[in-house]
């Protein structure tokens, strides 16, 4: 007798998908046009037809275990060719936004940061915290006049690196923790969904860190940086340039921040406390390579995000894709980071202290909130899509008997021999 399987539809899940912008999901009649016209769909496990069915039937666990939704860049080809107006591209987008909410804890932060008002509130709160800490620091340690320090504008006079680190390092730790928790839960779910064998204790296998990075993360990141896959997206191919610029800008600014933190925060402070005469402080001269990189980053960020905004408006108008509040919130937040940063620099060079310091505080507030929103908002695609790219490569190797449960090592050696 055939095996009988009773399906338990998760109505709340279906409703969640519909509320998040996938309200057309029930129009799908499973013709599979979408899976064929999708330029990113894979041979063995085409999408998004199966996801449409799972979402209709409320098979929440199936959808949760599906890494394929993250291989979609929402170009809208499927939506264009869909004979039923079921808009698979938007449904997958809705599934992704719900997935980010599902994996990010605490949930209230996700709720707050997904609304424009919540983001503005968070920015104001961050600015207040920064100002209070700066005020206390000025009163207790530096004795610079507050809130507008006298003399040549230098932002470290308002708030030096130590109090900044006091604010930002715990934030980094928190974001890293939430991201790690989310990614590991996601990894477990998609491993199960991919049919990767589990150990006798029920844990899902993962490659060791070194191999994870060398064999899977590095190629995935290379692909992401070059936007190799994203560029195949049909209807919105033009979108990739703006996105690429924004990503490159973040990488450039990440490098700048890391180098600066090492040089100014660590080496600078060590030198200062050891009584050395060498002073390592910002602002850097405009010809300093790090400063040049920072300015290039700022340019790419502002122009890139503007291109993304323009493209999204146009494509939304054309009906290729739908845009929700969270899409615009992220775009405007990134825009605010870029513009406030650039403005702070310009005002500093123009010696307008009255405006420069408040804009600097605004910039710090925007950066803090953008950073905080990483695991909680649409920004989380950076985490989950990267994980999906890595997992796709790894699951392929596992299925081919080349990875999983320590099998990567001999393989890695083999590769090394070549």
């Amino acid at each position: 007798m055939a095996e009988t399987k009773k399906l338990q539809p998760d109505i709340a899940f279906v409703k969640g998908v519909m509320d998040a912008g996938g309200d057309t999901v029930n129009r799908c009649y499973q013709c599979a046009t979408c899976s064929v016209v999708c330029p990113l769909s894979t041979e063995e496990s085409p999408f998004p037809r199966k996801e449409m069915l799972w979402a209709q039937w409320g098979l929440a666990s199936k959808v949760a275990g599906d890494a394929d939704v993250w291989l979609c860049h929402q170009c809208g080809d499927c939506t264009k060719y869909c004979p039923r107006g079921a808009r698979p591209g938007d449904v997958l987008g809705a599934i992704r936004s719900n997935a980010i909410r599902y994996y990010s804890q605490p949930r209230f932060l996700a709720d707050m940061l997904s609304k424009p008002a919540g983001v503005v509130g968070a920015i104001i709160a961050a600015m207040v915290v920064i100002t209070v800490v700066a005020g206390l620091w000025a009163a207790a340690v530096t004795h610079h006049s507050f809130p507008i320090p006298e003399g040549e504008i230098a932002y470290h006079k308002f708030i030096s690196v130590i109090p900044i680190d006091i604010i930002f390092l715990p934030l980094v730790g928190f974001v890293a923790f939430v991201s790690y928790k989310g990614i590991t839960r996601f990894w477990d779910d998609i491993s199960r969904g991919a049919g990767v064998p589990t150990s006798y204790t029920g844990t899902t296998p993962a490659p060791s860190l070194g191999i994870l990075i060398s064999k899977y993360l590095v190629p995935a990141v290379k692909e992401i940086i070059s936007h190799e896959r994203f560029q195949k997206c049909g209807q919105t191919a033009e979108r990739t340039r703006g996105h690429k610029w924004v990503l490159w800008a973040f990488i450039a600014l990440f490098i700048v921040t890391t180098v600066e933190m090492f040089v100014v925060d660590i080496v600078g402070n060590i030198l200062r406390f050891s009584g050395s005469d060498i002073v390592l402080e910002t602002p850097l001269a405009l010809y300093n390579p790090i400063k040049i990189l920072a300015n290039i980053g700022a340019f790419l960020l502002i122009v890139g995000i503007w291109m993304l905004k323009t493209m999204r408006s146009q494509k939304t108008e054309e009906g290729v894709l739908k845009s929700a509040a969270q899409d615009w919130t992220l775009i405007w937040l990134i825009f605010a980071v870029g513009v406030s940063g650039l403005l702070a620099e310009i005002l500093r060079l123009a010696h307008v202290a009255v405006l420069a310091y408040p804009v600097y505080v605004l910039h710090l507030g925007c950066v803090a909130v953008l950073f905080l929103s990483l695991p909680f908002t649409k920004f989380g695609h950076l985490l989950y899509r990267t994980t999906a790219y890595v997992h796709q490569r790894w699951a392929e190797d596992v299925r081919a008997g080349k990875a999983g449960f320590g099998l990567e090592k001999p393989m890695a050696d083999e590769v090394a021999e070549h």
Partner: protein, 415 residues
């Protein structure tokens, strides 16, 4: 007030309605756009599910028309406008000249003198015809016609000189006929949906992608290949044939409705193929097979049991040239078996749907819905595929029903 009935369209529905109304004692006018009666059915090779040729059915109706003095028909004619109301319509009909007389049944001498060859629309451009021609061997009325495009040329004069005297009359002019009728039956039928509009299905871009109606013409003994189903590119017998179901139908970007006949047409054409080429493998890509009713279900079941026929549940959404010369690759997702399927075939058949004539040609005085189907109102009664997509049987049934409605309209008004 008039007891007469106008039937617009002389296809299967139109002639059925006309004959039924005339046999109930009413004068009937048929206005047909083409040069012959019989419409799309005349282009078919066989009907489903009985697989008898279209002459069976058409011939009997033609005989009823010929022997019934109450029926008047105009070919190469179009209704220009309808005014008035139920019981009393005045209708303007424009009859274009054929430049021949009814005695002109053999145009071979004229064809010998003709120089221009144009794509033959009756065979969907798979062959050519001359400027003087008989649309098809079974054409009724059996009268050769001259293409209006050459009417004023020296070629037409050469044709007229070559033909026996009294058969060609190049001086004919368009006529406008005014009719007074009590009811109008609209049987304007359909045309195959333009396959070039599906930009992902390769028609017109990839060799050997044809439509189901082209296969009908190929399979027909009077067709361009004398009944052989071949690949257009090299006239070779295909060893593998793929059918693409719902090519434009059930698609909001094209025809939002199910065209009703394409599944059965494909199953029927598979029977042609299996008879002609017992070794050929057939692949059918579908969303779901719609074979309603006991007889059609039985037909489907019989085809499904054939081991050379493979059904793949998944719509073709990409068509491209294959690796062999002239071959075609059909790409779909196999939603049952799983995975992406790229099936290479020698011949791909798009099961294109039916678009009502009203989508493009609208007659003043008739209401149409957004897809071009005729909306019924008192005195103006649609039937056949002008009303909704149907098979020949349902078309005939709706025609009989329309005839009754038309008779009721005129009888009530007269009473």
């Amino acid at each position: 007030m008039s007891n007469s009935i106008l039937v617009i369209g002389g296809g299967f529905a139109g002639i059925t309605a006309a004959v039924e109304a005339a046999e109930m004692g009413h004068d009937v006018y048929i206005v047909e756009r083409e040069d012959y009666l019989g419409g799309r059915v005349a282009q078919l090779n066989k009907y489903f599910p009985k697989l008898c040729p279209p002459t069976c059915g058409l011939e009997i109706n033609f005989k009823r028309i010929r022997t019934n003095p109450r029926i008047t028909f105009y070919t190469r004619a179009a209704v220009e406008s309808i005014s008035g109301g139920p019981g009393d319509y005045s209708v303007k009909v424009k009859v274009e000249p054929k430049y021949t007389t009814p005695a002109c049944t053999n145009c071979k001498p004229g064809q010998a003198a003709a120089t221009t060859e144009v794509p033959n629309e009756f065979n969907f451009g798979m062959d050519t015809r001359k400027g003087i021609y008989l649309a098809h061997p079974m054409a009724f009325p059996n009268q050769c016609v001259i293409d209006p495009k050459i009417a004023g040329t020296d070629e037409a004069k050469a044709i007229a000189d070559a033909m026996p005297a009294g058969l060609v009359d190049l001086s004919q002019q368009p006529e406008t006929v005014e009719l007074n009728v009590g009811a109008v039956i609209v049987a304007t039928g359909w045309k195959p949906y333009d396959p070039t509009r599906m930009d992902n299905l390769g028609f017109g871009k990839v060799d050997n992608v044809v439509t189901n109606m082209m296969v009908e013409r190929m399979a027909s003994p009077s067709g361009p290949t004398e009944g052989k189903i071949v690949r257009p590119s090299d006239k070779e017998e295909p060893k593998t044939i793929g059918f693409v179901q719902c090519a434009g139908s059930r698609d909001e970007n094209h025809l939002p409705y199910c065209s009703y006949i394409c599944c059965m047409a494909t199953l029927k054409q598979i029977r042609y193929i299996r008879e002609q080429m017992p070794e050929a493998e057939v692949y059918v890509f579908y969303i779901d097979i719609r074979s309603p009713g006991r007889k059609y279900e039985k037909f489907y079941k019989a085809v499904k049991e054939d081991e050379k026929v493979h059904f793949i549940k998944g719509k073709v959404a990409e068509v491209r040239p294959g690796s062999e010369p002239g071959s075609v690759v059909l790409v779909a997702e196999d939603t049952v078996g799983g995975g992406r399927v790229e099936q290479q075939v020698d011949l791909a058949v798009l099961a294109t749907g039916m678009q009502p004539t009203g989508a493009e040609v609208k007659i003043a005085g008739i209401d149409y819905d957004e897809d071009g189907f005729v909306v019924p109102k008192e005195g103006i009664i649609p039937c056949g595929c002008a009303k909704r997509p149907v098979d020949v049987v349902s078309s005939a049934q709706s025609a009989t029903a329309a005839a009754l409605k038309a008779v009721q309209t005129v009888v009530r008004r007269a009473g």
